[in-house]
């Protein structure tokens, strides 16, 4: 029998450490990898956003060229959605969900690692377009007539990069689903799961059903551009509206994939820092499921001006408005959670409190756009830009920042500075409203979105100026956060199990950061907010469901890294196949390499290893 793996050893050389991170299948480490990867792309997307705002600072500006501007908006949108927001949420899901349900790991540790590397290499592939040839320039929606007409390889980078990253996302989604279905600790019934776990569950279900259409759509795009197909070429019988449908059949649920986990994060934060259980828990769960379900029925509200006809528009308009109902239920439940509570304004709580007005603003403008005839005016104007930034930044990004502060001690064992955290919040929050509030009016005043520049004398100058200043404030907020992270890491003051002192869910019952096996004994869950119940009864920790036994753990593996590397290489081959001789061989080599690694994985048994009772006892004792 193999002994405890190297993950418990201390003091390793850089090479060994790198190898450890490349091969890790530990959900907590993969969570951190997601945070690093997502954080990197978040900063990248932020820089793109700043360039966009500087270009629009004054009328007739030529800070960047028209073509480069289109690349900036495309990459900003694509990066923020696929490579920043989703991976950052995945980071928290990975790190926290298994802890919340009392599991030792996710259902498929190997696939978890594979999912991360596919996201990372997909993002890398996409961003290499800045240095090779040209970046994609048809908007993050990449509407077909333009994306087919777009010269150079920009759109090819988009298609292949997203295909790789999307496959990784799908794997992560299935992994979370199975983890939550199968790996819950005894007593952790569905209706005792923390809201963050619930929203992860529903968001993962959305991933499962939303990403396959995207995969198909991107394949169509790839085949049209690189392999002579004619799906979107109307002169050959093709139809560009197909792309729009497929994209939004994916794209609308995608919005909920982002916002539902954000709802989950805020549900946790509200209840912890109001020191009160979540008001209307079962209604919250039901609303989450309903939002997820309705999220699939409304995609055509992105296409009201396409010319689908009044009947289709009317149906999708009414369905869209219906989503307001469960969302409203959530808002009121949060309000009633803090009502009568004992509100402590920590940094995460500050974000949660900032979220309510911001998100309500974004929500109501969403309902307005649901009114199809009104949307004829709003669609593709700056009103839309304002709306979705209110939802995505006011909802998702605030949630990510809240979660960063909230779970940082659990993930890294040390607290981010509250003082700097609050400074970040105020810069970010004020900057955010400054940037986007006035954009509603810009849209109503006739400013279309995705414009590279605008003429003087259209009444848009002042608001654009204010908007850009707001963006600078947001950037300052993010810089303060980065400084906070650096300082905190350097100081490295260790904290205990429950540094917020009001933790309610299972993750706060174990050390920060948790040992690699999470729970020395599988916990027994006796109700909603199980750690809170234990604390009420004077226990510090959790009730065990079993005696100390040997723990089965998965082996680390480098195969996910190489498997993805093969696809990454094959992507370049596919793209340059037609103009370079080396294209086809590289394509074949990359695919063969991936298949080889898959073969190795399936033929070589990997049964994991056991941590023995004695080793666990030793480690647990060493900790006390």
């Amino acid at each position: 029998m193999t002994t405890v793996s190297n993950s418990v050893e201390q003091k390793k050389g850089f090479g060994a450490m790198l190898w450890d991170w490349l091969t890790t299948v530990d959900h907590k480490k993969i969570g951190i990898l997601y945070l690093i990867g997502g954080g990197f792309f978040f900063v990248l997307g932020g820089i793109e956003a700043m360039l966009i705002r500087f270009q629009l600072l004054i009328p007739n500006n030529d800070f960047v060229s028209a073509g480069f501007f289109n690349e900036l908006i495309t990459m900003h949108g694509t990066t923020m959605i696929f490579l920043a927001a989703m991976p950052l949420l995945f980071g928290f899901m990975n790190a926290i969900v298994p802890l919340q349900i009392g599991a030792r790991d996710v259902a498929f540790p190997f696939i978890n690692s594979l999912g991360f590397w596919m996201f990372f290499f997909g993002g890398l592939f996409l961003n290499l377009s800045w240095f090779l040839d040209a970046a994609p320039d048809a908007g993050w929606t990449s509407y077909a007539s333009l994306s087919i007409a777009s010269a150079g390889h920009g759109i090819d980078f988009y298609a292949i990069g997203l295909q790789i990253a999307g496959a990784g996302t799908l794997m992560a989604g299935i992994n979370f689903l199975v983890t939550i279905i199968n790996m819950r600790a005894p007593g952790m019934t569905y209706m005792r799961m923390p809201l963050f776990t619930w929203t992860t569950f529903v968001a993962s279900a959305l991933i499962l059903f939303a990403f396959p259409p995207l995969t198909v759509g991107i394949f169509f795009l790839t085949f049209d551009r690189m392999f002579g197909a004619n799906f979107f070429d109307h002169t050959m019988g093709g139809n560009t509206i197909i792309w729009e449908h497929i994209f939004w059949i994916f794209g609308h649920p995608e919005v909920y994939i982002l916002i539902l986990p954000a709802f989950g994060i805020f549900s946790e934060v509200f209840s912890v820092f109001a020191r009160k259980r979540l008001f209307g828990y079962s209604a919250m769960v039901f609303a989450t499921v309903l939002i997820g379900f309705l999220g699939f029925m409304v995609w055509a509200h992105h296409m009201f001006t396409v010319g689908l006809g009044p009947t289709a528009n009317a149906i999708f308009a009414v369905a869209t408005m219906a989503i307001a109902v469960p969302t409203g239920v959530k808002i009121f439940n949060w309000l009633l959670t803090i009502w009568g509570g004992s509100i402590k304004i920590t940094t995460p709580m500050l974000y949660a409190l900032g979220f309510i007005p911001s998100f309500v603003m974004g929500g109501v403008t969403g309902v307005q756009q649901g009114a199809a005839p009104l949307d004829y005016q709003l669609h593709d104007s700056y009103f839309i830009v304002a709306h979705f930034h209110y939802v995505i930044v006011g909802g998702v990004v605030l949630a990510i920042l809240a979660a960063t502060h909230y779970w940082w001690p659990k993930m890294f064992g040390t607290m981010l500075s509250e003082k700097l955290g609050k400074i970040t919040f105020w810069f970010f929050f004020i900057g955010f409203h400054m940037t986007f509030f006035l954009q509603h009016f810009l849209g109503l005043m006739g400013m279309p979105r995705r414009v590279w520049t605008y003429m003087d004398g259209q009444g848009w100058n002042l608001f654009n100026l204010i908007s850009t200043i707001g963006a600078v404030l947001m950037a300052i907020g993010v810089i303060v956060l980065i400084i906070n992270v650096i300082i905190t890491t350097a100081k490295n003051e260790r904290v205990g199990n429950d540094p917020w002192e009001d933790g309610r869910t299972l993750e706060w019952a174990i050390p920060s950061p948790p040992p690699f096996y999470n729970f020395a004994q599988t916990p027994l869950v006796r109700g909603l907010d199980s750690y809170w119940i234990e604390k009420q009864e004077g226990h510090n920790g959790y009730t065990a469901a079993e005696p100390v036994t040997d723990i089965h753990m998965p082996n680390g593996s480098i195969i996910p890294f190489f498997m993805t590397l093969g696809l990454f290489i094959a992507g370049f081959g596919a793209m340059y196949r037609l103009e370079h001789d080396w294209g086809l061989p590289v394509l074949i080599f990359g695919l063969a390499f991936t298949f080889l690694t898959m073969g190795i994985r399936s033929i070589k048994d990997d049964l994991g290893y056991y941590v023995t009772k004695d080793q666990i006892r030793r480690m647990e004792r060493g900790r006390d």
């Binding site: 279905i181 059903f209 509206i241 197909i242 449908h245 059949i249 029925m297 036994t549 040997d550």
Partner: protein
């Protein structure tokens, strides 16, 4: 060892019961297979016979749907215990599949 699967030896009676049950299941699956072949034959025959499209299309679609149901429930055992959640997700997928196809045949009309 503690972490190994507990091996439960069946009594001869239990074993006989299990065998009988699985034989019965196999027979019913064979019947379903015959039914599926039969339905396929009808579908092809209906088309070859050259009936009106308004008659043939609903019939072949219905037969296909029934066949798929048989595959899912008899061959893939979706009706058995422990498949509740799985069935929920499959139905979710089927519903979305239906919506997608419906949208593509109604609102892409040119």
């Amino acid at each position: 060892m503690a972490h190994d699967i507990e091996i439960i030896e069946k009594t001869p009676a239990e074993f006989e019961y299990k065998k009988r049950r699985s034989d019965r299941l196999m027979r019913s699956q064979l019947m379903m297979f015959a039914l599926m072949i039969f339905m396929t034959l009808i579908s092809f025959a209906a088309v070859q016979a050259g009936f009106s499209a308004y008659f043939v299309i609903p019939v072949v679609l219905l037969l296909a749907a029934v066949q798929v149901g048989l595959q899912l429930y008899y061959f893939m055992h979706m009706s058995e215990k422990g498949h509740g959640l799985v069935a929920f997700f499959m139905y979710g997928g089927v519903l979305l599949a239906f919506l997608t196809v419906l949208a593509f045949v109604t609102i892409i009309w040119w």
